[in-house]
């Protein structure tokens, strides 16, 4: 099963993922339509934590606590793509899902998909239509720094385990692109300066 992997060290907090997600899920499919629209739905959020940044969205857990907690039949799993999907027509915004989600990946508001004039839960749908047509999620496509990767779970996990072991045994670090390394260094310093100064 394919998943979206986050390599937070490569995240430059440019928010291209947020923008692409907003456009992808907006009925106009257009940045100018999505801008300034209170119903615009953004399923990924770049969280700044000190000098680090983390593109946060649904992890499509298996088993998924939200799916087991939803009492209205609104959350289901696409057995082909593995995506945990939320049907806003059935959602009652009761927050049972949000109450158990470890990643704070479910939010509430009146989106364009809300049918009854009230808020609904919304979350990442893994761009299910795109991936089932052979494409990538919009956020991954928009990410130019390599922080978001869409790939086979087992293969990527194996690769990371190997590089982690190399790092541990041989002290070989994964080479970070020099510009990303420079950017991280600057951000770390800026963060320190703000902490100390302001």
């Amino acid at each position: 099963m394919k998943k979206v992997f986050v390599d937070y060290k490569k995240c430059l907090a440019c928010k291209a993922c947020e923008t692409a997600c907003a456009v992808e899920h907006h009925p106009s499919r257009n940045l100018f339509g999505a801008l300034g629209d209170t119903k615009t739905q953004i399923n990924v959020r770049v969280l700044g934590v000190e000098h680090e940044a983390f593109p946060l969205s649904c992890r499509h857990c298996d088993p998924a606590d939200c799916l087991s907690a939803c009492p209205s039949g609104a959350i289901s799993r696409d057995l082909v793509s593995g995506a945990v999907l939320l049907n806003p027509d059935l959602c009652k915004a009761c927050a049972m899902c949000a109450m158990v989600c470890p990643f704070d990946a479910i939010a509430f508001k009146q989106t364009h998909r809300a049918r009854y004039g009230r808020d609904v839960a919304y979350k990442c749908d893994l761009c299910n239509d795109r991936i089932k047509a052979g494409g990538e999620p919009a956020c991954v496509e928009a990410c130019h720094s390599g922080a978001l990767v869409y790939g086979e779970f087992d293969r990527i996990r194996h690769g990371r385990a190997v590089s982690g072991l190399k790092n541990y045994l041989l002290g070989q670090n994964d080479a970070m692109p020099p510009l990303v390394e420079l950017f991280r260094e600057l951000r770390r310093k800026e963060c320190e300066r703000r902490r100390g100064g302001a």
Partner: protein, 407 residues
Amino acid sequence: MKVVTVGTGMASAEFVQRLRLEGFDGPITMVGDEDFPPYSPCVIPFYLAGEPLETVYWKGSDFYSRYGVSARLGDPVAEVDNERRQVITAGGRRESYDRLFYATGARSWYANPEWLETRGVFGFKTLTDMVAIDRYITENKVTRAVIFGGGFIGVDAALALWHRGLEITVVHRNTRLLSQMTDEDGGRFATEKLKEKTGIGIRLKTTVAGIISHHGQLTGVQFSDASSMETELLIVSVGVSPNSEPITGQDKGVAVSAQMLADPSIYCAGDVAITPHAVSGNDGIYATYPNAMLQARTAARHLLHGDGSYPGSINTNVLKKHIDFPIVSAGSFSGEAITWQQGDIWRRVYLKEGRINGYLIIGDTRMSGYVYQLYRSQKQVDKSIKAILSSPRHDSYYREMLGVGAA
């Protein structure tokens, strides 16, 4: 092997669906007292608030045909004869079984059941109740309602009818609404905020002492403080009791094993089953949807594969209906209290030996999932919990994971 479920509620529907999805092809009969496909009790108040009836059928209105179920509806089971392996309905019908799944849930409890004979007095538990209330409000152009009982169901009823545009008064004998799922301070905070945000009338430390009627039609209610109020609609939601009489002879619930067995051929689950708490170990009826699901899945797995056991229940609950003001609670409210409040948000965690014993998160849900996981896993949090509760950006989980320490 013939499987019979007593009850057509959420646990029974999940159980049957699991059996079928895993390839069980024997006959299945579902026996229930109401005449509907399986519906979600959590969703039915939204029907009263004006949303389509179709959405209450959380597994589809074609459930019985889709899963090849013989449905025997509109006739409650009165007795389970476990020696002859038969269930006997109130109407005298018999249904034999090889394996029984007993999940009859709970019903409204009434101190004055005779009140219900008056037109305009209703319980608030079943889809039958909702349909009757909906018809009554429409036919009589009801504009005002009194809700007697301000627990979860009472507040749920109040918010649904408030959303529909009725003028609501909630009468509750305790010092705060939701007195079971909150502590004193949290409950008072939630009560004030609910009042402020909705304009619902709330009368605390008061009960409905009597009803006033004219030719069998409700015209008003008399309160315990001797005052009265005109109303054509009274909803009584002062308590529930489990439907365990057909199996135990009493309404105290049904004790079950870790395999959800009440007897070698009877599984029991849902709001009628007595289970241990996953954290505290205390036996009780933990009547929430996620517990019922896990119980039904445990039973289905045991029936099909002969293995698995129930890990215990968690008493987490959340009330967030019609307004964006969630009230989340879990565990028990004893131990060292750590509280944080700002504006509409109020959070408190009770610690015991440095671990979360219970918590209340009122006003937003943003960190409730993380706190829930810390509670379930019984992690040592005495050093970090203050920062977690007060973190302005709700990023404690990510801070922990990235190893950047508390804010």
